[in-house]
């Protein structure tokens, strides 16, 4: 190992003499000591220096520049290195100074508000663009991409059957069990059936399915389209003459629109099975009684409500996912951010719209 870098003042402080290895690994505290140096030498002597790399050369160059003094004793290579470093020393534009934290918080709030507004407008605009392309494709049915569409049906619908079934089954059981505990206090355990029937068909079937589809498919839409955008695949499509809207967005939107009602209906049915099984084993209500009670207490409008909401939710999820995917720009981090945004926005919008639907259906008498 070579000697560490060091310096001293010779000739009554007139000469700043460096020695040892002026390399990054052997610098130690040399930069700090140099900063603390108070003397103003007339020249720098680097003859005793054994090795020098660009960092060492930079330190020498900086002192020579700041004190405006000559460097002596450099051999040919060192002189060349110093010359290169001097050529690389260009005045640096400072990045803008940091803003005070209070102002920064205000800035961030303002920016977030503007961003939220812009996103909302963008979403509405994107929805419009999807509608225009949809009608354009419907007028020329030859342009429908059946392969992509069927593939999306499979990915969004069929592949989700397992997880949505399991989730709905468990939720049916949980509703029945929690309901039974509360209703037992009034000796009204039999009303558990009302609870399970109305809740799964009207709200939970469709809502839980929407959340699951947003997590499974909405995020996948954003990530797929986003990484295709990063890899310039979307641009390549455009140049070839394939509309990304037709090839990527429409199949996904249509698949989500069509699959959501089916998945919701399936989820509601499996939820009923879960609740029914719990009633049978825990409350001794046989399945035949459960089914006939369901038919008495659940109005058919509950089913219509669920099935009417489902395609709207599917549309929102697919539009948010594809829209965020199309917004990806720059780097891989953007894909992650946009995917998160897609899921959060779609679930938020689904729940807001669900509240509107509840008020709407109540006011038209579907109680």
């Amino acid at each position: 190992m070579s000697a560490p870098a060091d310096f001293d003042l010779a000739d009554n402080g007139k000469t700043l003499r460096f020695s040892g290895s002026l390399i990054l690994a052997r610098l130690g505290n040399l930069p700090q000591h140099l900063d603390d140096l108070e003397a103003s030498p007339d020249r720098i002597d680097i003859a005793p220096v054994e090795r020098m790399d660009t960092v060492g050369a930079w330190l020498i160059h900086r002192i020579a520049r700041d004190h405006d003094i000559p460097v002596e004793g450099a051999d040919e290579d060192q002189a060349h290195l110093l010359k290169q470093i001097a050529a690389a020393d260009q005045p640096l534009k400072e990045p803008p100074a940091a803003v005070p934290s209070f102002q920064r918080v205000l800035n961030q709030m303002g920016e977030a508000t503007i961003r939220a507004g812009v996103t909302l407008i963008g979403l509405v605009g994107f929805f419009g663009a999807v509608l225009i392309d949809l009608f354009a494709v419907l007028r020329h049915p030859g342009r429908i991409r059946w392969n992509a569409l069927v593939r999306q049906f499979e990915v969004v619908g069929v592949d989700a059957l397992g997880i949505i079934g399991l989730m709905s089954f468990l939720i049916g059981i949980v509703i029945a069990q929690q309901g039974a505990i509360q209703l037992r206090q009034f000796g009204a355990e039999v009303f558990t059936i009302n609870l399970v029937g109305r809740l799964t068909l009207r709200e939970l079937g469709v809502l839980m399915t929407a959340i699951m589809v947003a997590g499974r498919s909405g995020s996948a839409f954003a990530a797929q389209i986003g990484s295709m955008k990063l890899a310039e695949e979307v641009d390549a499509m455009r140049t070839i003459g394939v509309s990304p809207m037709e090839a990527l967005v429409l199949p996904r939107v249509v698949a989500a629109f069509c699959m959501m009602p089916m998945l919701s209906f399936y989820a509601a049915m499996v939820g009923l099975v879960g609740g029914g099984l719990f009633c049978w084993f825990s409350l001794d209500i046989p399945p035949i009684t459960f089914v006939s009670r369901i038919r008495e207490v659940v109005p058919i409008t509950d089913l219509w409500q669920g099935l009417l909401k489902a395609p709207v939710f599917g549309l929102i999820i697919a539009i948010a996912g594809c829209f965020q995917g199309m917004q990806v720009e720059g780097n891989a981090e953007a894909v992650g951010l946009r995917t998160t945004a897609a899921v959060v926005q779609s679930i938020f919008l689904v729940i807001v719209l669900d509240a509107f639907f509840a008020v709407f259906f109540a006011s038209i008498g579907w109680i």
Partner: protein, 297 residues
Amino acid sequence: MSSSRQAPGAHDVVICVRGLTNRFGDQLVHENLDLDLHRGEILGVVGGSGTGKSVLMRSIIGLQTPESGEVQVFGEPMIGREDIDARNIRARWGVLFQGGALFSTLTVGENVQVPIREYFPHIEQALLDEIAAYKVTMTGLPPEAGHKFPSELSGGMKKRAGLARSLALDPELLFLDEPTAGLDPIGAAAFDDLIKSLKETLGLTVFLITHDLDTLHAICDRVAVLADKHVVAVGTIPELLALDHPWIQEYFNGPRGRAAQDAADRESNTDPIETMKRRRAALESAGGDTAPDKDAG
């Protein structure tokens, strides 16, 4: 000339590859490959597409575990080494990947500072900033590029920024994977000048994968030819030309090879400093290859 005929110990060997075999599934990429890299030389590695030049580099730097064989860097075995063990060796080399491989969430300056922070955490931020700034300018980027994010740079600028990062620790050994691919001819020639002058001032040893015949003629001390799953020949270009291997003959004596040879002959008759000045001026008048592909955001 062939690596197996090289007398052992004749040179200070930095990289020593013996009997390297790499396989992906059924596809054999390297079989019994031998290669030596001597201290202070620029070794060009050439070969047709798909002959495993990048795989060879990945095997040497430890990103790819070969099926069999031995790789020594600075006299230390690299295969099967724990990452923590290899840290001291990793601090002594720099790697420039094909696309630059810059960390996309950091600015160019911060990218350059990453290796220094990792190995020398006691260095103050002010000095780090200065080091990053001069490294960035040294590689031919404008000073303000240090504050930009990789997504705001053009392909050529990304390469330069990647080179600045690979030079951050003033390494002894530099791996370059097609450094001039995708650069305009003036930018590529300036890149060659840069590597050559860095080699001369810092005593760098360079492992250079390239397709660029001009680079081979301009800066490589020796050239290794990868074909038939191993290194068929290593030597200077005149030495290689004397060999009777069909691929080598086609490569160096094809139309492009001849043009590069002529250009190299012309270049050697002119003053190198004048050439460098001329290139700098040309780069500056064109704004360098500094115009980004697109605006940020």
